[in-house]
């Protein structure tokens, strides 16, 4: 295995910025001559204060590699050093330091049939996988099961719906389905033909997701987990 190329720090400019839900911000950024990425990879975003103090955090890409811009979706954490800045202070035209793409494990190889069991902002890498699958004309390869409080609070809910995603709303009943996360019986049919399962979300969500997948007889070796949450047990 050759050594991985060093992903150096580079500058990224915010080209578009909006707030798809009350607690999230979507940033679309331009980076000169950036390398291609695989869906599931993330970047580091680094902020620098006038006294040279820096803070950096990881953010998954929502964009397909063919997208001319990098797309991030960040959830504002109460008192969160980086996410509150991105959600409340950052503006179009601002330049932030970026480093990536990073990660070679939580990535979709573009050929394997997979299920993404994701919650809240954990949808972000699933969106990148779904977009890439659609570009390749293989939307069938990426199945998405997403958990959110409700359709208005889950980022990318409409796009994922068009992709054929299955949803579990934890705060609202829908079409006779009571509010709550997925049950094993709901998950079982989604696992048909799937070779790999990606679980992504807060630490708490990721723990629930991996337990549910194991419970649904997915082999532990076929589960890949990405935990976003700053806190956990």
């Amino acid at each position: 295995m050759p050594p991985a190329p060093l992903a150096a720090w580079t500058d990224g400019r915010i080209i578009e910025l909006d707030h798809p839900t009350a607690t999230t911000v979507r940033l679309r950024m331009h980076v000169e001559d950036r390398p291609r990425h695989l869906p599931g990879q993330h970047y580091l975003i680094r902020l620098r204060a006038p006294d040279d103090y820096t803070a950096q955090r990881s953010y998954s890409l929502a964009s397909d590699s063919d997208d001319p811009l990098l797309e991030f979706l960040v959830e504002r954490q109460p008192d969160g050093e980086v996410s509150e800045f991105l959600a409340d202070v950052a503006e179009v035209g601002d330049v932030l330091e970026l480093r990536g793409p990073i990660g070679r494990w939580f990535v979709w190889d573009t050929t394997t049939p997979v299920l993404c069991l994701v919650g809240g902002t954990g949808v972000v890498p699933a969106v990148a996988m779904a977009r890439t699958a659609r570009r390749l004309g293989r939307a069938d390869l990426v199945r998405v099961a997403a958990v959110g409080r409700g359709p208005d609070e889950l980022p990318y809910a409409r796009e994922l719906e068009k992709h054929g995603a299955t949803f579990a709303w934890t705060r609202s009943e829908s079409d006779g389905r009571p509010a709550g996360a997925f049950t094993r019986d709901e998950l079982a049919p989604l696992l048909d033909g799937v070779e790999l399962a990606f679980a992504c979300g807060s630490a708490r969500f990721a723990s629930y997701a991996e337990e549910l997948l194991l419970d649904a007889s997915v082999d532990a070796g076929s589960i890949r987990v990405e935990r976003f949450g700053p806190t956990g047990g």
Partner: protein
């Protein structure tokens, strides 16, 4: 390196003597970071092996491990995802004690730590000897939680925490270095937080 418009430090000036570059103090929270499903492994059924380039390969049961004289680490830990956590107490045994039984041969220069999940991470032998590495089963006086590697994890606190393999079940002594799981996936081979060795090439 541009200053970020409108960004100001939110936390008090960290203690730079304790906080490596690019890290922040996560305070009372202890983030869980794992790429695999957390295994269910009862402590009583635990086994730990030391093999490879050793004169006396050996496997210890959970109770045999506890027969060693206990050893604790009190201090800080640093995760490559940029959080550091101060003043942790881990208790278990020193890796030196296991190696004293297994006796690495003169060619042994590296260690591959293996977990029950198949996770691996490589370390220079010198980084796990001399009282710098532990096999631990308790944290702050309580059994190590499953999501943090319980019942048993490796602890190498002077390196980034992915080197402290959770659910460790085997230490393999090797003559040549070989990349482990994250190391094959783009992370640095050694991972010294003070040198900010995060990714290959750093």
């Amino acid at each position: 390196m541009p200053v970020t418009r409108g960004f100001q430090r939110r936390r008090p000036e960290p203690d730079r003597s304790r906080l490596p570059p690019g890290q922040y103090d996560t305070g009372s929270s202890w983030p869980v970071l794992t790429a695999e499903a957390t295994p269910h492994q009862p402590a009583e059924a635990w086994q730990l092996s030391v093999d490879g380039l050793v004169e006396a390969p050996h496997t210890w049961s959970w109770s045999e491990l506890h027969a060693f004289e206990g050893s604790s680490y009190f201090g800080d830990i640093h995760c490559v995802t940029t959080w550091s956590k101060f003043d942790m107490t881990f208790t278990g045994i020193s890796v030196d004690d296991l190696l004293a039984v297994a006796r690495p041969t003169s060619e042994a220069a590296y260690v591959m730590a293996h977990s029950v999940t198949g996770y691996t991470t490589n370390l220079p032998l010198a980084d796990v000897t001399g009282g710098r590495a532990w096999i631990v089963w308790s944290v702050d006086g309580k059994p190590l939680p499953r999501q943090h590697g319980g019942p048993v994890r490796l602890l190498v606190p002077h390196l980034y925490f992915w080197k402290s393999a959770k659910w460790v079940s085997r230490l393999e002594l090797m003559a040549e270095d070989r990349p482990g799981f994250w190391e094959q996936n783009g992370y640095h081979d050694r991972g010294d937080p003070w040198l900010e060795q995060r990714y290959q090439g750093d």
